[in-house]
Symmetry: C2
């Protein structure tokens, strides 16, 4: 399949990044980063999560952060929630752009660890979310299959297990009379490789032929950009990414391999531009945002292009 | 074209890495790294360069380093030289495995900057090296085309300029009656992308149909592993790489974008293994070597897998 003409990139850095860092980064700094990302042309920015402030104190001030952002028309400032309480908080936070997002898991052990529920029970619970979103007047926009490639408890997840999660979603669509616009395969803890990416995209297209396929990749083991390229060659045109590769944690040992960041937004944009794929983003502004993120966090971040700079365009007259 | 069944990886870390760091790393530490790399199965390790000690004091002790290494049978411990003096020093250093390597440039400005000669004059000077190597009883093993994709003075290098360098090599083969076993396309300062990698491999195969194509990639702008994957899919089975991604310099600003390291050996090996390609290397031992490199250098290095660890193999009985 050919490369897409255009890709859509959703920014995850403000949530992914600051969720894993020490608490205490100022609202002003985090708001300025979100604003810089919007200036660079990002149209979908995940700002913060509405989760238990006792477990994730970094996100306790999510509502204040949303309120502090100078908003830009046409940009969606989204949040993440994992339970009803979180959704109620997000709903009550006026400037949050609510999204009808469903979550499924292909790893039973990972689902139990993260949700206290196995993958099937968790999947069944999404039926309640379909109905809840409807009650709030929200369309179902997308579904994520987390740990779609593997996880740190079970290792590689079989294609059959992923297919089971996907077939559940297909059945849920029929039973609840909706059609899923987008299905994300999430390589939550970095188990994907270019071959498994291609095979699992095929599988998702077979089971959910009407859904646009998106990828949520982490660069845990260095294959993030190779995986993105493999997906682009399958015509995939929807990616999550984190500015500067935010979300990685240099202080986490190998037992926390899951703590590596999303693939880096500006490096992905550079890949797309080099391949002639439109992103709608302003790469120099995006690099400014990445460098702002680095100044805020106060240590070298993982992004490559932000440190090397853009290559020169060919200068006339220098050629031999 | 299909993936190769097996790849050969040449290790560049000991030279690439320590050449760019402050001088003064001990011979003992550097020798122990080389030994760890040989233990991991690497069969071609570039240990040091024989260059002007006034310009590159880090490599002033190259001969002592070679002497200190406990050698392993079957491993080639190679060096780099840029002029006759360097070659004479290397030749006089008993344990150096001399290699008949030629160097060409596709960028005129970069060649002038590095060699004081334009690309054509430099290319012509390689005829002298063909003869010199023969006088020393050395086979011509390989030729590098440096800056085969672009450089930081001229930006992108056109395919026509690369073709000119390749045609010169083809003519030199005929005129000097040798057949080049291996031709490396070197992305010296990180201008390659998966598309240009594929196009330029095709070009090299067209002009030098008998040469095995190798790639020397730097991960300057985050596309290193995507570029390697694109090459693997073209059947390329010969790569240079640096353990832990050695060779990067976090203190170099964007004006020194060229200071990013080679693609990371163990991350490349991981990619290959995930794709079912044999490398002949022991990945856990290679990770030990990468972590040793990090302890010696004393700061976080760029490799990903060394920090995240290998993924679990699927554990029986955990599946739902």
């Amino acid at each position: 399949m050919a490369l897409p003409a255009r890709v859509e990139i959703h920014e995850e850095g403000p949530r992914e990044g600051f969720q894993i860092e020490r608490p205490g980064f100022s609202i002003a700094d985090r708001a300025s980063l979100v604003e810089a990302l919007a200036d660079a042309g990002l149209r979908h920015i995940q700002v913060a999560s509405f989760v238990n402030p006792k477990r994730v104190p970094q996100m306790a001030d999510a509502a204040e952060l949303f309120a502090a952002i100078r908003k830009r028309p046409g940009v969606r400032y989204t949040g993440l929630w994992l339970n009803e309480q979180g959704f109620e908080r997000a709903s009550a936070t006026a400037p949050v752009d609510l999204t009808g997002t469903l979550f499924f898991y292909a790893s039973d052990a990972f689902s139990r660890q993260n949700n206290g529920k196995g993958m099937r029970e968790l999947a069944e619970s999404q039926r309640g979310w379909v109905r809840r979103y409807r009650e709030h007047g929200l369309q179902i926009e997308s579904a994520y299959v987390m740990t779609a490639f593997g996880c740190n408890y079970e290792g590689e997840i079989s294609e059959e297990r992923l297919a089971e999660a996907l077939r559940f979603i297909a059945a849920l669509q029929r039973e609840e009379s909706f059609r899923l616009p987008a299905l994300y395969l999430a390589d939550t803890v970095g188990h994907a490789n270019p071959r498994s990416v291609r095979r699992r995209i095929d599988l998702a297209r077979e089971i959910l032929p009407h859904a646009r396929i998106g990828l949520h990749l982490h660069d845990t083991r260095g294959l993030g950009m190779a995986n993105a390229f493999a997906a682009l060659e399958m015509g995939v045109d929807l990616f999550d990414a984190s500015v500067a590769g935010l979300g990685g944690c240099p202080f986490c040992g190998s037992e926390h391999g899951g703590a590596a960041g999303n693939i880096c937004t500006e490096d992905l944009v550079f890949l797309c531009e080099q391949l002639g794929i439109e992103t709608g983003l302003d790469l120099p502004k995006l690099l400014d945002a990445a460098r702002l993120a680095e100044r805020i966090i106060g240590r070298r971040l993982e992004g490559k292009l932000m440190h090397s700079g853009l290559p020169l365009t060919v200068r006339e007259g220098v050629t031999a």
